[in-house]
């Protein structure tokens, strides 16, 4: 049985839809004389950035490289490519018509068997506008209608005809879970569980309890299989008849995902607004032995900033969204800054929006400025981590992207000025060292097939 072999051999996180992404051809590029925020907490004034073979080689003064394409960045700022941990591009694509509602499999509160990547439409014009905002990596998540909505996928923000050609090689899947109002509204409205927060938690617990049982069945099967193998070889040696092999458990895609999350092979991302609910979810994680990578939306994360930092859980937050529902009523401007403040604090600016993803830098700027006014010391080299290395950490790709340290993938943005400004624009964006966006040389036609031949085609800039 192929499924059995798959789950047993490659683990519950096996990926039969593998990345076909290949970096575009790149030359050696030397960016000269910029203000560089390296994403690791450093600021380098008047520095050069050298990229070669799609990797960062060095950041520092007076670098040289034979045959490099030199980009004069006098007066410009350079940062790592921005990373959004929470996007629905492709699954809630533009235009937002009925045919494009592919982000919530709102037919059952636990749909951990569905994968966002199977709903991603690569022609969503929002990928290009996000690229113009410096986004080089992004996670596409299922929506929050369900308690456990399914797997998220991390993409490279390159134009491609297939999802697989955008898929970040080697990035772990995400698991989307949701607290609070959305699941109970969706299912309570259908006259079924969950209709309360009590029902929400019972739903997560039952799902993970089922997953524990499922994992036990597989472990038992694997023991029996090993046992069977040694017994049969003994029988064969003696010339006895061999027994029928043990049968594997029935494959369950929902539980595969949950077991992979418990095994640490999938990053758990939880949509959760209220501080008290985040605390319950941390207990849930302990009960079932999984780690929460980030609470998303976390409008009240500031109320438990110390706890989040102590547990190593990131807060993926907006600068200013609030009030659209009661669990989003206690927003403050300083949320990101307060989550960032404790030792090991991990603040992330996320978008959840085709608009917001175009200017994560500005959202970070708002939160930085408000945090500074609240008395916190947040220089730009610190705040840039909220949109670079911290989201890389939550996605499990911090070894490859998120900083300009030597050896990292050469995802680089050249900004026309200090990126913490409403007037800042990305002038050039590199992914794996290849120039994928150049504001000075816009393409003659839009990247998205959908926009081709439409009124003012190319207007979506």
């Amino acid at each position: 049985m192929a499924g059995a072999a798959n789950a047993a051999d490659a683990g519950f996180a096996a990926d039969p839809y593998p990345s076909t992404y290949r970096p575009a051809a790149s030359s050696t590029v030397l960016i000269r004389n910029a203000t560089v925020l390296d994403g690791a907490g450093g600021r380098h004034d008047g520095a050069d950035v050298l990229m070669q073979g799609g990797k960062i080689v060095a950041v520092g003064p007076n670098l040289a490289a034979d045959g490099a394409t030199v980009v004069d960045a006098q007066g410009r700022w350079v940062t790592p490519g921005l990373i959004d941990v929470h996007s629905h591009l492709g699954v809630y694509a533009s235009p937002g018509v009925e045919a494009h509602q592919d982000g919530n499999e709102a037919t059952d509160p636990v749909t951990s068997g569905v994968w966002a990547e199977h709903g991603v439409w690569p022609q969503d014009p929002g990928f290009s506008t996000a690229l113009a905002g410096g986004i080089t990596t992004l996670q596409i998540l299922p929506g929050s209608a369900n308690l456990i909505g399914g797997r998220g996928v991390t993409l490279r923000n390159v134009h491609a005809t297939t999802m697989q050609a955008m898929k970040f090689p080697g990035a772990p899947h995400g698991l989307k879970m949701a607290c609070g109002e959305n699941p109970k509204r969706v299912y309570g409205g259908k006259g079924r569980a969950p209709s309360t927060r009590m029902g929400n938690v019972a739903g997560y617990r039952q799902a993970f309890a089922d997953a524990q049982d499922y994992r036990g069945q597989w472990q038992k099967f694997e023991r029996e299989l090993a046992d069977f193998g040694s017994k049969q070889s003994g029988k064969r040696r003696k010339g006895d008849d061999t027994d029928a092999p043990p049968q594997p458990p029935k494959r369950d895609l929902r539980l595969d995902t949950l077991v992979a999350a418990m095994d640490g092979d999938i990053q758990v991302h939880i949509h959760c607004y209220r501080a008290d609910e985040m605390a319950i979810m941390l207990d849930l994680a302990r009960e079932f032995g999984f780690k929460v990578a980030a609470f998303h939306h976390g409008v009240e994360a500031y109320k438990i900033a110390d706890r989040l930092a102590a547990e190593g859980v990131c807060g993926a937050l907006w600068a200013d969204w609030w009030g659209f529902k009661l669990e989003a009523y206690d927003a403050i401007w300083e949320n990101l800054a307060f989550v960032d403040a404790p030792a090991n604090g991990c603040a992330i600016v996320h978008s959840d929006s085709e608009e917001g993803i175009q200017r994560l830098n500005q959202e970070a700027a708002k939160a930085m400025a408000r945090g500074q006014r609240a008395g916190l010391d947040i220089p730009p080299e610190r705040a840039i981590r909220w949109v670079t290395s911290n989201p890389a950490r939550a996605l499990g790709v911090a070894g490859q992207v998120g900083t300009l340290e030597p050896g990292k993938l050469a995802d680089v943005v050249i900004w026309n000025r200090d990126p913490f400004s409403v007037y800042a624009q990305a002038e050039r964006v590199y992914i794996d060292g290849a120039l994928v966006y150049d504001r000075a040389a816009p393409p003659a036609t839009p990247a998205s097939d959908f926009l081709l031949g439409q009124p003012s085609a190319g207007g979506a800039r």
Binding site: P95, W322, I332, W333, S353, V422, Q454, P455, S456, A460
Partner: protein
């Protein structure tokens, strides 16, 4: 003020600026004053406020007994417009018990005849104590359109809105600003009232409001008697705001308003740049959202960050609104203005689009939106460039009264500030 559209419910709306107790005189010294008049921006300038209004602007002003504020060269602007909002009529968007900005549903909204209720007045629900107002006021928003939202099943005419001055008073509504709101295009189409049907319904409503001959009660299918009176007033030169994006729909609006004698304002207008010359020629303003550059519907194909600059260049009067929860985040409008600047709009024009222009568009151009003698002393002193995302409002005054720079959000901040718990 435009008194012609005042109806039976005019008592709701202040006939003049709210009667706040006479404030102490205020002298703001040494500001960079963005007047939004032909005087432009004046550096190192003083502004004197008397009786809640701007008394004079100049250097070295003196006023015995006035409260003096040293602006230290920081920017001073008029109080900002908050856009087309539901401020004071929505507290929590997804809590129906706190959402009061839509006319009633018909007995069976899924079946014709459609019922249109132009007599609906959003300001009847206005709660000046809403925390949402406080959150936006400390960000420099001092006036906003409180607009109705069409009820699903009773699309096309949403009802009437008015500008509220966000001074916390019960009589915040500004009579001259009353506006009828009409929703056209894909939003109504998706709810089952297609575009041709929308204009058919508008024509029929107009016919009922201004019957050409003897019509009996049974002949009126869309409007109540109050609705007929209301719509008749707007067709007699009143202001009608059309939520509409597609160029072809905007052309139909211009033609319809020319036939009916109404004065249109385009709200949204994603494709307005395609018909910019017609809009400019007809003197029709556009209230747009500078964030919009993706087609969230087919009506918005071609939407661009450069729309504001293109419309301005074509001679169209522009103002800004934030379409994606512009109620709770009316405060995002100055970022919207900054984005328009980053995409080609002149800085002064962007500031005008959130001050003087919306005041003009809604009939309040002699009260709000400028710093000039006689104008309301609704002012904001900023920490830096008012369109910059790292800038904050240091002090807001309404009618010369300093507003407490606190909100529910600042209270929460101070309760949870690191090191305080």
């Amino acid at each position: 003020m435009n008194r012609s559209i005042l109806g039976a419910t005019a008592w709701l709306l202040a006939l003049s600026l709210p009667a706040i107790a006479p404030a102490q005189d205020l002298l703001i010294r040494n500001a960079t004053v963005h007047t939004l008049t032909e005087r432009g921006t004046l550096e190192g300038t003083d502004v004197l406020v008397r009786g809640g209004r701007i008394a004079s602007i100049g250097r070295g002003l003196a006023a015995a007994g006035a409260t003096e504020i040293d602006a230290r060269g920081r920017p001073l602007t008029p109080g900002l417009f908050g856009g087309i909002t539901a401020l004071g009529s929505i507290e929590i968007s997804l809590e129906p018990s706190t959402v009061d900005n839509s006319p009633p549903r018909g007995p069976d909204s899924s079946q014709p005849p459609v019922e249109l209720r132009p007599e609906f007045e959003a300001m009847l629900a206005y709660n000046p104590d809403s925390a949402v107002i406080g959150v936006n006021r400390v960000e420099g928003i001092t006036f906003a359109m409180v607009a109705p939202s069409a009820t699903p099943g009773a699309e096309v005419i949403a009802g009437q809105g008015a500008v509220a001055r966000l001074d916390g008073s019960a009589d915040a509504g500004q009579a001259a600003s009353r506006t009828l709101f009409v929703d056209l295009g894909s939003k109504s189409s998706a709810a089952g009232v297609g575009r041709a049907a929308q204009f058919m319904l508008l024509d029929q409503a107009a016919r009922e409001a201004k019957p050409p001959g003897a019509m009996r009660d049974g002949d009126f299918r869309l409007l109540t008697p109050a609705g007929r009176e209301t719509l008749a007033r707007y067709l007699g030169g009143g202001r009608i705001a059309f939520n509409v994006d597609r160029a072809s729909d905007i052309r139909q609006v211009l033609a319809w308003c020319a036939r009916q004698g109404a004065k249109p304002v385009i709200v949204g207008g994603a494709q307005a740049p395609q018909v910019a010359s017609q809009l400019a020629a007809a003197g029709v303003p556009v209230i747009l959202d500078p964030f919009v550059n993706l087609p969230d519907s087919f009506d918005k194909l071609g939407a661009s960050l450069e729309s504001a600059a293109q419309l301005q260049k074509a001679g169209v009067s522009i103002a800004f609104t934030y379409l994606n929860d512009g109620t709770h985040n009316a405060r995002k409008l100055r970022q919207a203005a900054g984005i328009a600047v980053a995409n080609g709009l002149a800085w002064d024009a962007a500031l005008a689009a959130i001050t003087a222009n919306p005041a003009e568009i809604f009939g309040l151009g002699r009260e709000f939106g400028r710093i000039a003698p006689g104008y309301a002393a609704d002012l904001v002193l900023w920490s830096g460039d008012p369109l910059e995302v790292t800038t904050v409002a240091e002090q807001v005054w309404i009618a010369g009264q300093p507003q407490a720079m606190r909100s529910r959000q600042t209270e929460l901040r101070d309760r949870y500030r690191p090191g305080t718990r």
